[in-house]
């Protein structure tokens, strides 16, 4: 793969060798500023390993992993438990790895609908609440690169859609690159620019639609998964950007939203009106 000069993070033919076998091998990918890249794949396919390489938490045993110098990273790990011996309020958790402005912290908590949790003890939060707080903390850092490992765990389906929309909004507002690991094979968010489907190696990659249609993806997850992915795209086939323009699922951007301009696949259904 060609090195992109403006990529935030680049993996070039990277692999991790542990306990006599390759967890992942030959991973070439990059995340640019303002782009949402999603990693999907079955359990044990190396999604988290790949993300940890991209974050610099583990060094590749083969190939290279490089990040642009002095980028600000925000990471939302898959699992974070706070010990009961640790008294920690949400308001204090917001400053965990660096002081953020009070306004920024408040705005981020408001954006994730977590304002009422500001003075709660972190360890008393439910899974979904903590997920929103972690996202708010990451957002308040105003990162260049936001890495989310299975952010919708413990969140119900409507919350899941809202969370994906929020991630899209964070990208639009901050212009940051987003690397997202999705545990949910059926729901890959429509705002994703590129999908890398992993199975120990990059099995296929491209726009969500092209990946869903690719024979490798169908071989890995079956036809049913591919069709549900397409259905989900119909629900959210466009996003309204901060400047009023509309980004469509196929990546094009128009000034207005017309149901019959060819970017849409069918009329928005009832779920759309809820959102």
């Amino acid at each position: 793969m060609l090195q992109r000069p403006d990529a935030l993070v680049t993996l070039d033919n990277a692999g991790i060798h542990r306990g006599g076998r390759w967890l992942v091998r030959g991973i070439s990918m990059s995340v640019d500023a303002g782009e949402i890249v999603t990693l999907i794949g079955p359990n044990g396919s190396g999604k988290s390993t790949t993300a940890r390489m991209a974050l610099g938490l583990i060094a590749p045993d083969e190939g290279t992993a490089s990040r642009r110098r002095a980028i600000r990273v925000a990471y939302v790990p898959q699992k974070l438990t706070v010990d009961w011996t640790l008294p920690l309020k949400v308001s204090q958790f917001m400053h965990l790895t660096g002081r953020v402005g009070a306004d920024e912290a408040q705005a981020a908590l408001a954006a994730t609908d977590a304002t009422r949790l500001t003075h709660a003890e972190v360890r008393t939060l439910s899974g979904g609440e903590f997920q929103r707080v972690m996202l708010a903390r990451a957002m308040a850092r105003r990162p260049d690169l936001l890495v989310l490992d299975e952010p919708v765990q413990g969140v119900d389906f409507t919350g899941e859609i809202a969370l994906y929309e929020l991630i899209g909004r964070i990208r639009d507002e901050l212009g940051c690159g987003v690397l997202l690991i999705s545990h949910d094979l059926h729901v890959v968010m429509a705002a994703t620019d590129r999908v890398f489907c992993l199975n120990g190696h990059v099995c296929c990659s491209g726009t969500p639609k092209s990946v869903a249609l690719s024979p490798e993806y169908r071989a890995l997850f079956g036809n049913r998964a591919a069709s549900t992915l397409a259905v989900y795209e119909h629900d959210h086939d466009h996003t309204h950007l901060a400047d009023g323009r509309v980004r469509h699922a196929d990546g094009s951007i128009t000034d207005h939203c017309h149901p019959d301009d060819g970017h849409h696949h069918e009329e928005p259904d009832k779920e759309r009106s809820d959102a």
């Binding site: 008294p87 965990l96 790895t97």
Partner: protein, 284 residues
């Protein structure tokens, strides 16, 4: 003032407690109590070596405990032995080797009980200087590494991903622990150092609304335990080091008793912030 042995004991003990409290919080948060035990048992080996080579005891204890801490860090990375078994093995081996080496040195007369259970009533002005200057240095360094160390305590990967260098903070913390063991050995002895580290911190848990406050409350509780223990030891003629630990335990038991809501620091704090929030809500 410093000519009175009891005053010297009070000043030395309070100095030790002020340092042990904040450091003890991290030991409680990171579940390192057993680790602390291992380091403090290794201190006896440091004492033996200091007597053998005729060097300063505090420095020798710091060096030996520090080496054991770094060795444990490296071994844990290899992770061939479960760290629980590893700590148990090292902890008691270090204690045993220390006792054996001391027994071999028939030409030195050592007060073994003093090293095992503390000899706070025998602290000198020099000891006080070491405790207060060394303690101030330990606290200053702890304040410097507080954010990365705390972030790594909550989640190591998160801290590393966001550029906090938790590995370095970890090594520095281990050395601080070795330093605290070196300066507090004289107060409570190698067998009871861990108690001075974790009991005040555990007591502070119930009272503290946040991590920084917990560190400060732990320091205060430790200082009160030293005062209580020393006056108790004077009153009832009990050994000073163990009396301090018993006093700390009494404070801990008090802290876990159910408190009427109007007296509890934490619930009042929470109640107030809740009210503030509700007011803010109705205004907006």
């Amino acid at each position: 003032m410093l000519d009175d042995f009891f005053t010297r004991a009070l000043i030395a003990g309070i100095g030790t407690a002020l340092v042990a409290g904040p450091l003890g919080c991290f030991i409680v948060w990171r579940r390192l109590a057993y680790f602390g035990d291992t380091l403090s048992h290794a201190a006896l080996l440091g004492v033996a070596l200091a007597l053998l080579f005729e060097v300063n005891i505090e420095l020798a204890v710091f060096a030996v405990s520090g080496c054991v801490a770094i060795a444990l860090l490296l071994l844990q990375k290899r992770a061939a032995v479960s760290s629980d078994a590893l700590l148990g093995l090292l902890s008691h081996s270090a204690l045993a080797i220390g006792l054996v080496v001391l027994a071999f040195m028939t030409w030195v007369r050592v007060d073994l009980m003093g090293f095992l259970f503390g000899d706070i009533l025998a602290v000198s002005k020099m000891d006080i200087a070491i405790i207060w200057f060394g303690g101030a240095l330990v606290l200053a360094i702890l304040a410097m590494i507080w954010r990365p160390l705390f972030a790594a305590t909550v989640n190591r990967e998160l801290a590393a991903a966001e550029g906090m260098n938790p590995g370095r903070a970890n090594v520095v913390f281990m050395l601080l622990m070795a330093a605290v063991i070196a300066i507090s050995m004289k107060i409570v002895g190698v067998l009871l150092i861990t108690a001075m580290l974790i009991i005040p911190a555990a007591t502070a848990r119930r009272l503290a609304p946040g991590p920084e406050q917990m560190a400060m409350i732990a320091a205060a509780v430790g200082a009160m335990a030293v005062m209580g223990g020393l006056f108790g030891s004077l009153e009832w003629d009990t050994p000073a080091g163990p009396s301090i630990v018993v006093a700390a335990l009494c404070f801990f038991i008090l802290s876990i008793l159910p408190v009427p809501a109007r007296l509890s620091l934490v619930s009042r704090e929470e109640g107030r912030s809740c009210d503030e929030f509700n007011e803010g809500d109705t205004r907006s």
